[in-house]
Symmetry: C2
Subunit: 231 residues, 2 copies
DNA sequence: CCGCATCCGTTTCGATACTG
DNA sequence: CAGTATCGAAACGGATGCGG
């Protein structure tokens, strides 16, 4: 009779500051990782569990209830033959994209074991995104194929729009769209890309050692280098 | 003898993902708010306490020890006459700037009571920063003066650099540098600026109602509008 | 007064077991 | 598969005290 499942609103910082406001909503443990996992598409409860080992099911369900109540996530019922229901980000939830991206950018700074990147594979796109600085891009649109040990990811860069965040210019696809020939192809391990980004490894040296191979049109290569922060 | 002050490393997510890495470091309660407060300059222990009501002193000292051990903050001893010591962000700690900024941008999205903005005053610059989209700026450099009920803030925008985050183009000063004549002056309440940014209020309407006044050179006005996201 | 350390009641988390 | 129920462990918040 006495229900305990009442989306107990967590502790608030009680500050009239947008940062504190944001953290009141997504500052609790696991919350941003849940959003991260939903960033590339809707997932079921068990998909989320799989991607978040260590998160107890009761806590996950409480977090989901909270995220729904805050309007960041919605529960969507799928047509009969498919799985019963999925969780998807709302438009408001997708506004957390830049937050996740900047966190990832920061996290790359002490990411020593990138080659130990494990499942789930869908996070691979996010990991790659963390290595990219879309604000450094030039105007044109181009495409690339990124071949990692874990799999190959497609990248499409849209032309610079008159306004809007430059993050939206990037589209990662896993697997890459078939048939389309990329402007540039890069082959490396995730760890190599991380070291290049962090400036711990020189591009020319990596190429000579066979840890990095880039082939394709000259302009697209230059843009790729900017995007991935190679010196 | 048995010391408990051993910077007990907090729970880790144990994931090989840059977002999880970042949250392992700054994901605990209060941590990002501490960094936020240090973003505009070094502070003493008691300054931090003042800006973070609800944070117990033992927890603050534990967080500071953690941040120091992670290399985000350093303890600096000041010359004798001044206060004994201050905490300052390291270069690595300043890398959290974009994270804080994006969190603030998100937090503006449900910031209904901006006019109730309270002390400490030094957060005023951060609140303003949250309303700004430096990525929308054009090339030129210009300056502005922003007159709020809480006080007047100076803004200087540097010319677009060849590379580097556009956040670095902005410099907020409180109070504004004396003597320099700003290219544009805007007078409004913080709440009005928030409503304008969120699109809840039209600029022309706000001006007619006397809630907003913008004076200055035409080009600087246009840039200001882009920066603050007015339609 | 500042910069913490200690004690203690409350909240949140994590692991496991269990149900429709 | 999609959660709920329970319970011990850890983290947090508030009060108080103490040395420099």
């Amino acid at each position: 009779m006495n229900q305990k499942l009442s989306t107990s609103s967590p502790r608030s910082y009680e500050q009239v500051c947008p940062v504190a406001r944001a953290l009141d909503v997504v500052g609790q443990r696991w919350t941003l990782l849940i959003v991260r996992d939903l960033m590339f598409g809707p997932l079921r409860f068990s998909d989320l569990r799989e991607g978040l080992p260590g998160l107890a099911p009761n806590l996950l369900s409480e977090r989901m209830r909270w995220l729904v109540s805050e309007g960041l996530v919605e529960r969507i019922g799928l047509p009969p033959p498919a799985a019963r229901q999925v969780y998807a980000l709302t438009a408001r939830g997708r506004e957390l994209g830049p937050v996740i991206h900047e966190l990832a950018r920061f996290g790359v700074g002490d990411w020593a074991d990138a080659d130990a990147f494990g499942p789930p594979r869908r996070l691979l796109r996010g990991a790659l995104l963390a290595l990219m600085s879309p604000s450094e891009l030039g105007e044109p649109s181009w495409s690339a194929e990124i071949r990692l040990a874990e799999g190959t990811i497609g990248l499409e860069v849209a032309a610079r729009p008159s306004s809007g965040g430059s993050l939206n210019r990037l589209r990662l696809s896993d697997p890459p769209p078939p048939g389309a020939e990329p402007d540039v192809t890069v082959t490396a391990s995730l760890g190599t890309l991380v070291e290049l980004r962090r400036g711990l490894l020189a591009r020319s040296y990596a190429e000579r050692r066979g840890r990095l191979a880039v082939t394709g049109s000259r302009p697209a290569t230059v843009e790729l280098r900017r995007l991935l922060g190679w010196t």
